[in-house]
Symmetry: C2
Subunit: 242 residues, 2 copies
């Protein structure tokens, strides 16, 4: 089977980063189309892939993963696929489903984070929806983020098998994604996130432990890790974290 090909917009971490972290932890070779040629060339490749008329199962949007003849879209579905292949999820049906359920909830948070800076329309600039963004971000910081982080803390508290792991006794793709979520929140809302993490020390410790895993640490220190910026999901606009 050919190696994996990740197709995602160039120049930002975005949802593609959740897939990258799984591929990096799995230690498998992958082609990252976003990093081939100029950003314009990479964007052209992605757009061509989305528009290809010979695909019976076209993805709606990036990221999508090509693996041999397979084309898989939706971040959580890609991780479901990779998780089973590379030991990044439990083997039991119940364990796999629980891991996926946690991932889908992380995906919900990610969508809410996106909407803190784009509450009206993805297609409009942030500058055209700043007033709405201020209101939405306030609710996110004060209510939503705390509720989600508290839920992750509860899961860590109740995990019967592993101290320091989110699910079972080993790393899963959901754990890698939770690291990315915490890293992104810390970038986007440094003040609010610092306060929130004080109430969820196990979540904070888990994020640090993931960052210290050898393959993840090597990835984060490499040029492959695109820095957070104001094109991605997690954006630092000081007025949204006063």
């Amino acid at each position: 089977m050919a190696a994996y090909e990740l197709h995602y917009w160039p120049g930002l971490q975005g949802r593609g980063e959740f897939v990258r972290l799984a591929l990096e932890e799995a230690g498998v070779a992958y082609r990252d189309v976003a990093k081939e040629g100029s950003e314009g060339q990479a964007a052209g490749t992605i757009a061509a892939g989305l528009g290809a008329k010979d695909i019976a199962t076209p993805p709606y949007a990036p990221p999508f993963l090509k693996h041999g003849k397979r084309i898989i879209g939706q971040t959580a579905a890609i991780l479901l696929y990779l998780g089973e292949r590379h030991g990044l999820a439990p083997k039991s049906e119940a364990g796999r489903l629980w891991t996926h359920q946690v991932q889908l909830t992380i995906a919900d948070v990610v969508t809410e984070v996106h909407d803190t800076h784009h509450p009206v329309a993805s297609a409009l600039y942030y500058e055209d929806q700043k007033a709405e963004a201020r209101r939405r971000a306030e609710d996110f910081r004060q209510n939503r983020m705390r509720g989600f982080l508290a839920w992750f803390e509860t899961i860590l508290d109740r995990n019967p098998k592993g101290r320091g792991h989110l699910i079972g006794a080993r790393v899963t793709y959901a754990e890698l994604s939770l690291f990315q979520l915490v890293a992104g929140l810390t970038y986007a809302f440094p003040k609010a996130t610092r306060r929130a993490l004080k109430r969820t020390p196990k979540v904070a410790a888990l994020a640090e432990a993931v960052a210290a895993r050898p393959r993840i640490a090597a990835y984060l220190a490499s040029e492959r890790r695109i820095p957070f910026n104001e094109y991605g999901i997690f954006r630092r606009y000081p007025e949204l974290d006063p």
Copy 2:
């Protein structure tokens, strides 16, 4: 194994409805907690389930499904589970993953529909975010809804196996969910949806075909089907569909 128990807030279709449609099409017995006792009693049962401290895998929010010892949250994960058990998804790994990918995209649309009336905060009343809702709904009607419906039309066009089916040659949970999405959009945005469906005739035909399936038709005609109303995801506010 005990029968299924669906836990979802009473008095509205919401995300629970996607699970109900799958259970109804499967023809299996299920307990629908929302319909037991008064709405207050049902809401109390749901809240108690969410707050129970002896669950190692607590759902973040309803709907969640209890099946024997299992508790599964996240609509798409519940459907993944039910789909495999009741022939509501292809048997091949590629087919199951594709069905799930389509479902996750439907879930994305559902979240966007919710945010047309709650673009600032779920916890606030619609009346407290009407101005923002007007802007968001306009973008949804004019851009997002059309793009998603066009994607479903493309899938129907390209399905190599089944005329009139979304995936393969048989009904899947994603097809049931697409019916619910079309029904909900038609309720919430009758003018815009009528116009949009003219461009996607296969989507419109599929929704009608699902509604005519014997078990679905019987369900829709029964008292078990809660009417659309302004507590659910799909709400009719005329100012959002001018």
